[in-house]
Structures are given as structure tokens and as C-alpha cells.
Symmetry: D2
Subunit: 344 residues, 4 copies
């Protein structure tokens, strides 16, 4: 059994990792850490875990020391030192934060106001969008697990960008996320009376996932992609729906588009193309590692509209991280990820 550890286990992404890894048939969840709850059993923080695990939070060093692979679910800026410690100790490292996602040091430093350290590690790090960078992932030991919004957007657009069916310039990305994306720490915005029955856009055209999305779309398109990205806060817990508007190149047919999506995803275990007439819904993927995609051609304006849904905490965080771990260790890619979405 592979020994796995989680640094930052009491945040939402961390505890979702706990849920998945405890049921993964080829790993043992060996150690977890939390700065806020060091010394405390995680079942005291999450009573849902009572009688399921006795694991108590240790410190980060102990996690690195005792495990073969370390997941970090930390605020940005804090993962680099952990990555270094893992690298020095010969442990694999999967970062659920933002530290290893951007290739461009300047972009990282300007968007995250944090230092870009350990160049060598950044060079080894692979962006863990499994469906598109699988081979690179298999050959590294440091993963920058994609952000939640970027995952929904990249999976949704990749086939048509790759096949040059749409323009990579001026793409509009209108995303809506459940509240768990904002983390476990209470704030006024996520205070129930302020958040329930509410709906708003935030960080309009200024969200930190913008450069990450553009980087990935550019790689897929083979040319510079630009987006206007507007995230919104949905009064639900789990789920992201991204509605994406891209300009179709002249003469592109629906058959070409369908062929591009089929070629990309027909054998993918976690991407489901919806049949025509069936829209996507965050409900259909909640508590699972699926990404559901549906697309529409608006001939009237020449746009392709792509809708893509994921559970932001699973495919958008913990589930994709485990999928990356499976790739890193040569396990079946879907191992431990056979959760069936809840029907209600």
C-alpha cells in the first residue's frame, strides 16, 4: 500500500481528500496535518468522520516524513517550501494550491504577490490536467493540481481549440461556483443570511484564475489565447458551471465540432459528453469526479457556446488530485474515484 499524507487536511479540499483516500483500495492514509487543529482528531473537526477514522492532525514535517506522497491544500505561497522538503526527501508532491500552476514567474508574482522560489522544482512541476497532459504527469514527481474554474474551462474548450475550430482570442468565460470554493473560514460574504437567496459576480475580469486559464488554453491552441473571465457565487455548496463563448472559425460545421469532442473524450473515464437535447447541471456531477459537457452553435452570431460542469471539490480539487496520484504511481487512473454522483 502506498502511504499518503495530507498537509492542510481540515480545509474543505483537505477533508474531501480524506474522504476519497480512506476508500482508495491501493493507498493508506497515513498522516494528516493542520495548523489550526494540530493535535486534534479530524473527527472532532468534522463529526461526519466519527468512527470512520482516528487520524489526528500532526505537523507538516511529520506528514512529509512518514508518507510516500504528500498532498498539500494550503493558501498560495506556502506550498513551495513543502515541495522542496518533499523533493529533498524523495517524496512525490501534489499541490492543490496555486504555487505550481503558472509557468511564468512574473505572472505568478504579480497575480499572487508571492515569491516564485526553487526554479528547478517549478521546471519539474507538471500542470495536472490529466486528460490533456497525462504523459507528462506520469514522468514527474511534482504536480500543480489545476484550479477549479480552470479545470471546468480547459476541459470544456480543449477539443475545439486543439482542432482550431474556434478563435482563441476574446473568449468569454462566465463561471458560477458553489460556496465551498471560498473555503472553510467564515466571512461576511459566505455568512448564511447574506449568502442564501443571493447571487453576485465577483473579481470581474480580475480573478487569479485568469492567467492560469489563458496559459492552458494557449498551450492547447498552440497560440496566445485571451479571455474575459467573470466568476459568480452560487448559493449552493458544490459545483461549478462555466458557460463559455468562443468565436467559431468560418465554415466550421457541427459535425467537425462533434468529432473533436468525441475524439477527445469518448474513452475518457471522467468526461461525459451529454447527448444533444440534454443540458448539463451541477447536480449531475456532485460528489463525483465527472466533468459533463454540452455545446451549442449559435449561427445567428457565429459563436460556440460550451457549458461544462464539475464538482469544484472533486474534479476541481481532491478528485483530480487523486487522479494525478494514480498517474504518478502507475495505478489505474480511476482507482478510488468510482463515486457515483448523488441523484438529489
Amino acid at each position: 500500500m502506498i502511504k499518503v499524507g495530507i498537509i492542510g487536511a481540515t480545509g474543505y479540499a483537505g477533508v474531501e481528500l480524506v474522504r476519497i483516500l480512506l476508500r482508495h483500495p491501493q493507498v493508506t492514509l497515513t498522516a494528516i496535518s493542520s495548523v489550526s487543529f494540530e493535535g486534534k482528531p479530524i473527527a472532532e473537526v468534522y463529526p461526519s468522520l466519527r468512527e470512520i477514522t482516528d487520524l489526528a492532525c500532526q505537523n507538516a514535517d511529520e506528514v512529509v516524513h512518514t508518507c510516500d506522497v504528500v498532498f498539500a491544500a494550503l493558501p498560495h505561497g506556502l506550498s513551495q517550501d513543502t515541495a522542496k522538503a518533499c523533493a529533498d526527501a524523495g517524496k512525490k508532491f501534489i499541490d492543490l494550491g496555486a504555487d505550481f500552476r503558472l509557468d511564468d514567474p512574473d505572472a505568478y508574482e504579480s497575480w499572487y504577490q508571492s515569491d516564485y522560489r526553487y526554479d528547478e522544482l517549478h521546471k519539474r512541476a507538471v500542470y495536472g490536467l490529466c486528460e490533456w497532459f497525462r504523459d507528462d504527469i506520469r514522468n514527474t514527481d511534482i504536480i500543480g493540481n489545476p484550479g477549479c474554474y480552470p479545470t471546468s474551462v480547459a476541459l470544456g474548450l480543449a477539443p475545439v481549440l486543439k482542432n482550431k475550430l474556434v478563435s482563441p482570442v476574446g473568449i468569454v468565460v462566465d463561471s458560477k461556483s458553489g460556496t465551498t470554493g471560498a473555503g472553510r473560514k467564515p466571512t461576511q460574504t459566505t455568512h448564511f443570511p447574506d449568502c442564501a437567496d443571493a447571487f453576485s459576480a465577483y473579481k470581474v475580469a480580475s480573478h487569479r484564475h485568469t492567467p492560469e486559464i489563458e496559459q492552458t488554453l494557449s498551450k492547447l491552441a498552440g497560440e496566445k489565447a485571451t479571455i474575459t473571465f467573470v466568476p459568480h457565487l452560487l448559493p449552493v455548496n458544490r459545483g461549478i458551471l462555466s458557460t463559455i463563448y468562443a468565436r467559431l472559425h468560418d465554415g466550421v460545421t457541427e459535425e467537425q465540432i462533434a468529432a473533436a469532442y468525441d475524439a477527445a473524450y469518448i474513452n475518457e473515464p471522467f468526461v461525459r459528453e451529454m447527448p444533444k437535447g440534454q443540458g448539463v447541471n451541477i447536480r449531475h456531477v456532485q460528489c463525483s469526479n465527472y466533468c459533463d459537457i454540452q455545446w451549442y452553435v449559435d449561427r445567428h452570431t457565429g459563436l460556440l457556446v460550451v457549458t461544462s460542469v464539475i464538482d469544484n471539490m472533486v474534479k476541481g480539487a481532491a478528485g483530480q488530485a487523486v487522479q494525478n496520484m494514480n498517474l504518478l504511481f502507475g495505478l489505474p487512473e480511476a482507482a478510488g474515484l468510482d463515486m457515483i454522483p448523488i441523484a438529489f
Copy 2:
């Protein structure tokens, strides 16, 4: 006191009209009708109204007969005959449905699969977007009250289209509406277990409000406007947020945009421009007749992003209808509409 009546009073728009008109200082709610509940007190249908009104549902003819002005909240296709009856009887008529919104008979017939009858009435009918067609409204007796989505979009974009600061072509309109927009009749989509914690797009690039929005934007722009319109269903009751993406003309400055919005709305009683740094939220307008607007320039892609919120049942239906009534009768435009949005 002006005698007012409502045909279709037991639907959601109808009962919201009841709530507003019962507190309007210059009118008497005299008669209401409902096909489903004829003969029944409305307080039996909506227990919230117990001891507030004794009004019972009559038939439509009785409403037309006894009132000076008639509101109709009916499925499309059914309002034209009522409009005719009102016109023949010399009563003013305000249609909350879709029958008197579209100028183009062909567009109406193809989008609504209904006959476009009584040409003369359609010619007299004015599209009741009060802030922009106030003078025409004052001089007619038939109002096509704007749809909920179109209200949010037109108010949001009008100043920059009117001032030719953005292109009217290829505008992306990504709208999100609360569930009351789907009406009072239970369906699988709005069944609580299916709708709660869910979020989806629907009628992508094929919603009936598309031609209505394009017609209004074209009038405001003075040239043909085209949009890609994608509505979404929010798991809340009240509220629409439209996120609108339009291409800025070259060289347009933020000062010009601000000036356009100020010129349009600074004296409007029901349109609030948010100060920079303050986003809009459906929560801030719920149960009121306000439309809140905030805009952003994305220099990176050259787009103007406008966010606009209304309560779909008030400014998007019953409230705007009463505002139109006030204009029709020369009352103060805000009479009966001084509801303060709920803070939570």
C-alpha cells in the same frame, strides 16, 4: 381612486401585483380573476393574504367590466382578446405577457407559435420600458410590459448603446434567474429536490426573450443589434442577474462610459448605479422595484462587462407594470412602489 383589476391574479406575477396594488395610495384593487380558482378567495390560494384582502377570483369579463385599467398576467397568446375587450370598452390595458412586446408579426408568430391579431392594437401598444420610452407610454392605452430578462439587459446596456460606445453586434448576454420566473405550476425542473443545490443553463441561444432583447437594443442603438442569450436557473426564488459582454469601440474611455450612465440614470428613481468597488447582488433589490447596475472595462480583451440585477417579479414584472400604470394615468411615477429591498 382608480379602479384596477388583474386577470390571472393567482400566478406569481399576479399575486405580486395584488401585493403592490393593495398598498398603492391612488388605486383600489377592485376585481381579480383566475381560471383555475374562479369563485375562490385569493387568500385561500395564498394564505399569506389572509385578513388582508377578501377579494375572490371572478372571471375575466367581470374584471374588464368593473375596472378602469386591467393588468393581464396570462400565458402568451391569450392577452390579445382581452386587449381587444379593453379597447372596445375604453379601458386601459397592461399586458405582463408577451403578446404586445414584439413589433414584428413574423417574429412573434415564429417564436411564440401564436397568431398576431388585431393589428391596430399592436400599433397602439407601447413597449413599457419606462426609463427609455416614457413619453410614448404616457400617450397610449395599451402597454406591452417588458419581459424579466429583457428589462435587466436593456436597462444595463441602454446608455452605452445610445451613446454608441459599444458595438451592438455579437453581444453576449449570460443571465441567471430565480425560479419564480418559471411560474407557479409544479414541474420536474422546479421540484424542490431536483432544483435545490442544482444549477443549469436552459434554452441556450433559443429563448423567446432573444428577439425582444434584440428589438429593444436595436432601437436604443439606432442600428441592428445581435445577441447570444443564455439563461440559467438559479436555486433562489427572486432575482435576475445579467452579465453582459459588449465590445467597446476603439478609444472609448471610462469617463465616457461613466458619463453615459450618469446622464441616463442619475435622476431615475428606480435605477441605481453602484459606486466603483461595489458589485451588484440580487439580494440588494429583492422585493423592490430597483435595478442596480455596475460595469467594468476589461482592457485586456476590449470588452465592457455590465452586471445588472432586478427582482424578476417586481421590476421584471409587477412593479414595472405598476410604474407603467402610473405613467398611463399621470400619477407620480413611483407611486405605490416605495418598497425598500429586504436586507436579508
Copy 3:
């Protein structure tokens, strides 16, 4: 116009007072205060109030100084000094907190861990349950506005206790409240992801409203009443439903019970008895000052089951406080309180 002020205006009860008082025809909201937001316009704290009021938060002294009547919506323990300042300045005082609700100093000090100061003021203070202590309210200048749970329970049980139809001993009170009752300050319990889709009991048989409820029920019954009180947190914003179980005295008939409720409430403007067959629902009273009541006899066990609903922020706080103000000043009791509950 009567000049009114609010100390603690930016909490939920405070801002609900603002909403009501701004539309009250016989008062002018003259001054408001807030410790957290001193100097700031309240419309910056609650954007829903933009363009509706320019009032900015001052300090408490300024409110007392400039107003004829002062509402305080403060944490317990803090209202007594304000009451003293009002009394010294000859201003009327309405406390929405707990400081002036309990007659027994020991009960207050042991349940609230606060000193019971200014005995004379406590003696003058009247418990502001308008429907039952109206005459006393008219003859004082200090009001202890009832707690939200106690209001729902006392109104629900008063007629049968007063008429000695049920035993006052061993009453079970199972109450469910919306989240606004927990206040505006973010906490883990009211963090949206933790609170949505959740439901729990809290402070089982140990909530501070227990002695207040027992005090009122004892007064109404004319003998010592005892209750087991269990509050629960509902994932909604507004509303309390209390389900109350009391033992019927032998031989009591449904006719006697109905007569007791009718005698008590048939002329009350804000208490609605539901007709048989129609249950109560928090939805039917939201955003209004109503209390709806329905009762049932369970002959099988000899219990009377009473269900009672209020909007915890209106009848359970701000609305009842305004009703008390109306009584204090000899205004029509319903002045400014004609809000129609939202239908959805």
C-alpha cells in the same frame, strides 16, 4: 413627527427597524448608531439601502440626545446604561435585547452572567407583548421587547393558559428558527457551506429564552409554568415555527379551545387564526408583523398541539418593537406595520 433613533442599527434587528421606520407615516428616523461602523452611511453596510437613506452611523449619545424615543438592538448587558441615559433625558426607550425582560434579578444574572442594575428602571419596564400587556405598555416609558422564540410561544399558548384549558406544567416547546436569529457576525455554524442543507438542535433545555418563556406563561396562567425548550436552526433566513405540546385538562372540548382563541385574537390586527385544515408556514408571515396560529387536539394522548409562526425579525423583533412604540405614543397600533407577507 416623532423623532426616533436606533442604537445598534447595523445588526439584523437594527436594519429591519430602519426599513420599517423609514416608511412609518408618523415618525422621522432621525439618528442611528453603530459601534462597528461609526461615521459610515448605513447604505455602505447594506447596499440595499442605497438612494433610500443618507443616514450615517453616529455614536449612541448622539442618538439619545436627538430623539424622542430610542430603540436599542444590543447584546445583553449593554442596554441598561442606555436606558438610564434615556430615562435621565426624558426619552422613551425600547430595548430589543434581553436586559428588561426578566423580572427576577437572580434569573437575569444567572442566565445572562450580567449585572441587574438600576432597579427602579427595571420596575418601570414593561414586557412588551402587545396583545397581552397592552395597557401596561401604554403607561410606561421603558419596554423590554420580547425575545423571538418567547413571542411565538406566548402568543400560541396564551389563550388556553389564560382559560385554564391546559396544564402549565411540563409543556414541551420545540422551536425552529431561521439563521438571522444568530445575528450578523459570521460564525462557523452560520457559514454557508456548514449551514446550508444542515439542521440541528442547539442549547437543548438550556437556552436563555427558557426563563423568559416560563415567566410569561406563568403570568398568563396565574400559576407556575414549566417548559422543556429545544430550539433548532433552520437553513432559511427568516421565520420561527414553534410546535408546542401541552396536556389538556380533563373534559376540555374543541369548542372551548376555539372559543378561547377567538376571544383572544379575533380582533387582533397581527394574530391570525388559521381555519381548520390550513396549517401555518413561516412563508406565510415572512416580512410581516403577523403571527399565524393553528392548533390540534390529539385525543390519543390527551395533548394539545399548537403551531405558531412569526418572522423572527419582524414580529419577533423590529415589528413588535414598533408596535410597542405606537402604543407608547398613542398612535394607531398598526401604524407603519401594514407590510403584506411575501407570497414567495
Copy 4:
């Protein structure tokens, strides 16, 4: 592998069975049926199941014919013939409906307005409350799977009734259930705009689960138990919380109560006693087969207050049914039921 089938697979309990059985290591979900969707793949009814199962709905006879054990999730009255068919064909039968729960034919017929047929089958049928009737379950082939409310109440009260620590007479059961308990068919009550932000009691002291609860409590107590049962509808999807009030016998100590619960549940895989200070919450058991219990002594009134939570669709329906199947076949009782509750 055991071949299992589901009759009524497209209702909520049915589809939850599908989710559980597809992941059960010792069974093959072989056939499903649905009257409404015969011939249709279940993944078309529940898009969440796309690419997970190809099963299409057949008719009930085919299910009985092809399977070793049949689950029925049908409206009451319809399961008896299916039970007969299974018995005749030598198949085991687990009824998630109400037909095999009540021992008393008269009680069944008066509460359900249905005929009590096939006496011999009713005699063989065992009430499937696994924790308390495990031995009987192992020795039968027909199970009446307990109702959702009765499960939460019986598990909560059994230890203290069994040990005669509380009186079985006049117990108050105040239960709150999520909306999935009302089924998949849209109704006005469960229409999102009517149900969201709403809360109400229903079928007060007249719900059909009353005789079932009393029957079970009487068996456990060894004497006649009576209850006043009031269910309420919570605006959430999953979960029941029952708050139960029972009179403590004189002199009973907290130690005795704790000992009774420990003795009953310390080794039970699916019942969790919460440590003192930790309340139960429907959130902590959602999507799992757990029942969490906490209790409180109110010395002031001499009542024991027990709070008990389950996921109404898992422990209250599909999960408990699978637990019963495991017992019927001598499998490990927790097989296929190791779902970890969602943390959010």
C-alpha cells in the same frame, strides 16, 4: 454474485438503491423496473448515472424472474402481490413501502385504506430494524423495511425503553424531514418557490407512521407505547432529525442512560453515539447509513430529550434495505454500505 433487482427503480428510494447496489461488492444489479419509464435507460431519467450503468427499466415480472432478491419501492398497497410472486418463485423480498410493516391488519387497513392480503406472507415478514431484530431478519425471506421517521425514532428511543428508564406513554415525537421524503412527483408543496425558505408541520398527530412507531416502541418496551407524532417539512433534500421527549422514571441517573445506550450501540456499525457536548446534525450523516444520537436530561421537567438523525434515503430507506439484504444472505452486515457522509 447475488442477482438483485429493483421494482420502482426511478423513484428516489429506487435510484438510491441503484447507487448503492452498483457499488456493492457481492451483488450484481441485474434488473430494474419502472411503470413510468418502462423501456427507458435509467440514465435518461437520471443523467447523473450516464456512463455508469446501461440498465433500462423493464417490467416487474422480468425483475422477479431474473433476480435472487427483489427490492420494491412502491406506493403502499402494491407490494403485496409482488411479495406473493417472489414467494411463489422462491425469491427473497424486501419491501421499502409500508405493506409489511404493521402486524395488525386492522391498523393497516384503517391507516392505509388498503386490503391486508396474504396472511401467511405477513406472518413470515419481519420488520427490518436491523439493530434490534437482527436474528429474526436472518431467518425469514420477506422484509418490511422500516419507514424513515420510524427508523430515526426507534433507534433513538430503543435503549431507554428496553431498559425501562422512561415511560412509554405520552411520548412526544417532533420530527423534521427533508423533501425527498415526499417523493419524486412534483406537487405544489414541493414546488421550489413554495418550498424554499418555507417550513411547516403537516399531518399533525395523523401521519401514517404513527402506528408503526407505536408498534415498534411497544415491542421494545414490552408494554403499550403511545406517542404524539408531528412531522415537519425541511427545505433541504436529505435528512431527518427527530427530537423526542419522554418522561424519565423516578430516580433514573445519567449513568444508567449512558450505560443503556452504550450497551445497545457501542458495537453497532451504523449507530453513533455523540460524545457529550456534540449535537447531532443531519449534515453529519448525509449520503451515509449512519444514525447519530445525542440525548439530554432536563431535570427541571423530568424529561429525557433524545435527538436522532439519519439520511432519510439511506438509513431511512435504501441503505437499511441493503443492510437487511446482507443479513438475509449472511453477508457482512456492512457490505456495500461503507459510504462516508459528505462533510459539506
